[in-house]
Subunit: 181 residues, 2 copies
């Protein structure tokens, strides 16, 4: 079970969650039913109109599919976020000159859904900040990874995915954003 394996990775990384948080900790398969390839495990620590922080876990070689955070309105140009690798290795892909031989393995049959191919390698202690409206996707190395995400307000329901199958899943099963004061 992906959630249980991700909790083990968090433990290896030395990151402590409370009992309540372990329940809330969620595995997401983006509606594709192949979570060990395309998926993500995560916990939102705090999400307010002014900032957001999450812990993300990737199983070995698990991929967070390509997406971007669009402009919301005049006061919110879209989510800006910083990924900080805490444990393991993360291969992050962003717009820019395509890296000739990327480390990530593209999920079979989904190659067209991973358009940006400029590779950033994040090892523990390394971080990268993404501007709003920037296409990105990422994959863990062979042992998995833990990534702290620091950002502006997170409105997951507004994320735009490259994979039309994921977009269709989002229409069928709308997300309810949880925003604190």
């Amino acid at each position: 079970m992906a959630k249980r394996e991700a909790l083990k990775i968090l433990k290896k990384a030395g990151i402590v969650l409370t009992a309540e948080e372990k329940k809330r900790f969620a595995a997401v398969d983006f509606g594709l039913g192949r979570i060990r390839e395309i998926g993500l495990e995560m916990l939102v620590y705090v999400n307010t109109p002014r900032y957001c922080a999450k812990e993300l876990v990737l199983l070995p070689r698990q991929t967070c599919p390509e997406h971007l955070h669009p402009k919301i309105d005049e006061s919110n140009p879209g989510k800006q976020e910083t990924f900080r690798c805490r444990w393991g290795i993360v291969y992050l892909y962003v717009p820019g000159p395509p890296t000739p031989k990327i480390h990530a393995r593209l999920p079979k049959g989904k190659e067209d859904c991973f358009k940006v191919r400029h590779e950033i390698v994040l090892r523990p202690g390394q971080q990268y900040t993404l501007a709003p409206e920037t296409l990105h996707w990422f994959q863990a190395g062979p042992r998995g990874a833990v990534v702290s995400e620091f950002s502006s307000l997170s409105i997951d329901s507004r994320d735009v995915f490259t994979d039309p199958e994921i977009q269709e899943w989002r229409r069928r099963a709308p997300i309810i954003d949880e925003i604190q004061r």
Copy 2:
């Protein structure tokens, strides 16, 4: 040396910094010259107009002195922040009914500079969010502590301390706020 000891605590907590970050990691004595009692070690991971994240380290029984984050202007009601304990124990004090027998030991001769006495105990995985303009101070337990701070934009130069000696030090040695895009 406080910085070296704090880096050891981070290591025990399993938190990895890059070589560059270890250089930037700073010990602050608030101008009082008694850093083992009143002080803080910290690293700013990211500070943009939209969000901020820091790692804070406290040596055993070290105290971050009482302060608040004032309103900046019409668009910024003051810094809102979430403290998440990652390692050790933190005793956090906020406005509210004074806790009869607090765990923290007040620094000698500075008792009047710690006015709020409502105790919140944070163990690993526990967190607490502070509204802007809320007086607060905190002290680590006997082994020290590591605290992740998630917040809105941090403008340290505007912090208001209860201790007039710290306020005076701030006037003599103004802080230059580092804000990224």
